[in-house]
């Protein structure tokens, strides 16, 4: 029951409808109640499908002030301000933040207004569910008593409305001209997407109209008052406002009813995903628990379509992450497996995803669903112990791919010798696979076997530093090996350090180079600067069209076992075009697989590995 002392309303306003009800609020109420119920069920489903340890981690993260602060910060920056989109595409960022943050502000201001002027309507039995939304209908201004704070709210509400309307305007424009906002491809909306989309477009213009019709009675500011005057000029003094409030409510109701079945579900799911992610929860099942939160948090914006290296061929657009997620959401089993299999696991869709949906990981879970059950027997395989005493030394692990590109090994060993490093070559006479190709194929148990064998070999050696020449190995060594007390470095980091310590002096030559970021080194391990410093110290470093975390996969990736060579060739050609934008003399990379792939495909511009470049540029005294 509403406490007696706040039965009154503020002197500035007239509580025109003390019963706080009108029929037109019904569509909105039905919509919002439906939406809240649906969300509640969804939330329970997600939580129920988490493992108990994950649930515990979530709970702990919510009482830990540090993660809680991060949660709040992330939700504010990502869900409301959309800073991630701002950074890449400012106009698109403005559009999102205008709608999300503007709407958020208008809700807050609306509630604040009710709390200040008619607090009794913030109680459920007095219309709390809808009152702040339709405040301008229920409350009229008292012309005898106008105050500054009243006008301030009128002004702020109009300002927010203008802010949102500018975003909606951009959104409508984008629907027809997506290229101008920086998107080449976008997704095709489904029926429910369209219902939600058109009602979203309608909500705020209708709100403007409804409020304009009542602005002379309920108050307004720079937007609604002139609109009201115009309407009076057009239709006379007796403005019939009820239909507009009905339309506004119907539009809202329609939006909330269609929301759970549309892409706009991401608005409500993203905060949950942020909480789960910050709690350190990882995807374990391709459809349930964390994955379900990710699936519904996908905004289907289609940024990943432009990001995907496969988009060089139109026919392969269908393998993009957004469609994978869409088919998962619809339980389209037939298509899911095929799409899960084609991905090269370059991780660019994840890097560019504004919501942070880790679809490469979901694809690996999907692959595991049918690959991890296959039998295997690795018992004859042993990780041979390195020859010579290792304790405290640097150990070099080349890995399978470097053994297939002997020029890298040759160059790395030369650099080691020139720097006078006392090192041991772990797999000189062959070793075991690092396990990442198996993980990529979803063969988790098999991967675990080789990882354990390698790990034992490394831990028993007692080395202090492990240098790797293959980023594919590096990623799995860093993420899965848990090599306590051993520093794991890519050779670009190691050589960069040698240069900084002046154990290696490089001579700057004439040539110009473009550096290709290997997926596993850049997006995979976040190593972008060390290789660039090395290249920059031996020659002129030119930029590629897209680089850093937007670099394009070379097409040779081990990520897919079924993508055809014809398709791969086209990806490689596209990646080469990207690299050669500024006409460098040579292409430099730091991954044996990229080196091999580009060397085969690049006929005019030679491709070299950073190790070769460094070995050739050492100033010998």
């Amino acid at each position: 029951m509403t406490p007696f002392h706040i039965l009154q309303v503020a002197p500035e306003v007239i509580d025109r409808v003390p019963g706080a009800y009108a029929h037109f609020v019904l569509p909105f109420c039905v919509g919002i109640v439906f939406c809240i119920c649906w969300l509640g069920v969804g939330l329970v489903r997600v939580l129920a499908n988490l493992s108990s340890s994950d649930r515990k981690a979530l709970l702990l993260s919510l009482i830990n002030p540090k993660t809680l602060w991060k949660d709040i910060k992330d939700i504010f920056c990502d869900c409301l301000l959309h800073l991630k989109i701002w950074q890449r595409k400012p106009l698109l960022g403005y559009m999102h933040s205008a709608i999300a943050f503007g709407w958020f502000l208008i809700i807050i201001l609306g509630h604040l207004e009710v709390w200040l002027f008619a607090p009794r309507h913030l109680y459920l039995d007095n219309g709390a569910l809808f009152y702040p939304i339709f405040y301008r209908y229920f409350i009229w201004v008292n012309p005898e008593h106008t105050t500054l704070r009243g006008s301030l709210f009128f002004f702020l509400m109009d300002l927010c409305l203008l802010y949102i309307l500018s975003g909606i305007g951009l959104a409508i424009f984008k629907r027809f001209r997506s290229r101008l906002l920086g998107m080449k491809h976008t997704t095709k909306p489904s029926l429910m997407d369209r219902v939600a989309l058109f009602s979203l477009w309608g909500i705020f213009p209708l709100r403007l109209l409804a409020e304009s019709f009542t602005a002379d009675l309920a108050g307004g500011s720079f937007l609604t008052l002139p609109a009201n005057a115009l309407l009076r000029f057009l239709f006379g003094n007796n403005l019939y406002y009820l239909p507009w409030w009905w339309a506004y409510s119907v539009c809202l109701g329609l939006f909330f009813v269609s929301l759970p079945f549309s892409r706009y579900m991401h608005i409500l799911t993203e905060p949950l995903l942020i909480l789960l992610r910050n709690a350190g929860i990882k995807v374990r099942h391709p459809r349930k628990g964390y994955a379900e939160a990710e699936i519904y948090a996908c905004s289907s914006c289609g940024l990943c379509i432009d990001a995907c290296p496969m988009n060089v061929q139109k026919k392969n657009l269908r393998f993009s992450s957004v469609y994978f997620i869409r088919f998962l959401r619809r339980h389209n089993e037939k298509k899911i497996n095929r799409i899960a299999d084609k991905c090269l696991q370059c991780g660019k869709c994840l890097a560019l995803c504004p919501v942070g949906v880790d679809s490469p990981a979901i694809r690996r879970r999907q692959r595991a669903a049918y690959n991890d059950v296959l039998p295997f027997d690795y018992s004859p395989l042993k990780a041979p112990a390195p020859q010579g005493a290792v304790p405290g030394k640097v150990m070099y692990f080349a890995g399978c791919m470097s053994h297939l590109t002997p020029r890298i090994i040759k160059a790395v060993l030369e650099v080691f010798r020139e720097a006078g490093e006392d090192f041991v070559f772990a797999d000189e006479n062959g070793g075991l696979c690092c396990g990442r190709p198996l993980l990529l194929a979803g063969k988790d148990r098999a991967a675990k076997t080789v990882i354990e064998a390698n790990r034992k070999m490394i831990m028993e050696s007692g080395c202090s530093t492990l240098v790797l020449s293959c980023p594919i190995c590096l990623k799995v060594f860093k993420e899965e090996y848990k090599l306590q007390g051993i520093e794991v470095l890519h050779y670009t980091e190691y050589m960069d350090r040698l240069v900084a310590q002046e154990r290696l002096t490089l001579k700057k030559g004439e040539g110009s180079y473009v550096y290709h970021d290997p997926c596993e080194l850049g997006r995979g391990c976040g190593i972008y600067d060390a290789p660039r410093r090395l290249v920059g110290s031996v020659g002129e470093l030119r930029k590629a069209e897209k680089e850093g975390d937007e670099s394009v996969c070379c097409g040779g990736s081990l990520g897919s076992l079924t993508l055809s060579y014809e398709d791969r060739k086209k990806i490689t050609a596209g990646a080469l075009d990207n690299l050669l934008a500024n006409h460098p003399d040579r292409i430099v990379t730091a991954c044996p697989l990229c080196l091999k792939t580009f060397s085969d495909a690049s006929s005019d511009v030679p491709v070299v590995d950073i190790a070769e470049l460094v070995a050739d540029s050492i100033t010998r005294t």
């Binding site: 053994h403 297939l404 590109t405 002997p406 020029r407 085969d600």
Partner: protein, 336 residues
């Protein structure tokens, strides 16, 4: 007046076709980009299956060309249709109007350094089949020395989608077995291995060569692809392979590794083909008008093809095609 025919490519197919067309009384112009005639045959020492020396065969082919106007060090600058004839201009400055054109542009050897895992161009003792022939011709190759353990790798750049070539190059199996025997004869104390996927000894006398290699020369045939090669400090080679007959991984140390580089469509030939819009298949070889009865004809009237420009072929196959093309050209020119 005698009609003009241009033959592009002075390898065995071009030489044989020139000889036949010359004998039929045509004015033949033979265009060759190198400084000498003979194509790959000129680089070869002996021919499978019997090990006949290549030089006399080439000599016979060259001497047969009669009045053919041979234009060495000439590449095709442009080739276009002019009514029913063709106009061709060469880098040497010569222009010819011809009534028919025969493409005998042959093949390129696969660049073995592209299979980097085998270490060609990186390790000291890795050579190709062409290098071995050069060694037998000149007796000189610092990479060869006096090896005690020799390995030959079949299918380098053939039947290998990753290397961009799905087809079999047809001649390497027999070449490998021939060279294995020759190497064994040259270095009698050496152990010689052949790493093969499967042996395609399809021609007359090839199977006998294979038997002889096992019985008389003791060549060790290992069914399995070489996966990788590394070089030890003493410059010996460590080869990893799989013996698929015994299903065991295998590691051998070698002093010399010979890569059987396969056939790729000729790059220079492809350039000429593009000028006249001669179509190619996915494999890059020229399309013929059909695969059985029109192997020498193309979609362009008056333009004919012979030899390895339409796919890997043995020397006898190539020479037969050259003769077939000559007959077809004769028929075409008589009708027109």
């Amino acid at each position: 007046m005698a009609k003009n025919i241009i033959v592009i490519g002075g390898g065995p197919a071009g030489l044989e076709a020139s000889a036949r067309l010359d004998a039929l009384g045509y004015n033949v112009f033979l265009v060759e980009k190198e400084t000498r005639l003979g194509g790959h045959l000129a680089r070869w020492d002996r021919l499978f299956p019997e090990g006949v020396p290549a030089a006399p065969v080439l000599e016979k082919l060259v001497s047969g060309t009669g009045n053919t106007k041979v234009m060495l060090e000439s590449e095709v600058l442009s080739l276009s249709r002019l009514g029913k004839s063709f106009r061709i201009s060469l880098t040497s400055g010569v222009s010819v109007i011809a009534d028919a054109v025969l493409m005998t542009t042959g093949f390129d050897l696969f660049d073995a350094s592209k299979k980097e895992e085998y270490g060609y161009g990186i390790y000291d003792h890795v050579v190709t089949n062409a290098d071995i022939e050069g060694y037998f011709r000149t007796g000189k190759d610092p990479r060869i020395g006096s090896p005690e353990r020799i390995g030959l790798v079949h299918c380098v750049g053939s039947r290998d989608e990753k290397a961009g070539c799905r087809n079999c190059s047809k001649v390497c199996c027999a070449t490998a077995v021939k060279q294995a025997c020759e190497l064994k004869a040259k270095f009698p104390s050496a152990t010689v291995y052949c790493f093969y996927m499967d042996l395609r000894m399809f021609g007359r006398g090839y199977e006998d060569l294979y038997l002889k290699a096992q019985k008389e020369y003791g060549i060790r045939f290992i069914r399995g692809r070489v996966s990788e090669v590394s070089e030890k400090i003493d410059k010996t080679l460590q080869v990893k392979a799989e013996d698929t007959l015994s299903s065991t991984p295998l590691k051998v140390s070698l002093d010399l590794l010979v890569l059987m580089a396969g056939m790729r469509p000729s790059e220079a030939g492809a350039k000429v083909g593009k000028m006249i819009r001669l179509g190619t298949g996915d494999d890059g070889y020229f399309n013929t008008s059909d695969g059985f009865t029109g192997m020498q004809a193309t979609s362009v009237p008056g333009l004919f093809v012979a030899g390895a420009s339409t796919g890997p072929k043995t020397l006898p196959d190539t020479l037969s095609e050259a003769r077939a093309a000559s007959a077809l050209i004769h028929e075409y020119l008589r009708e027109s």
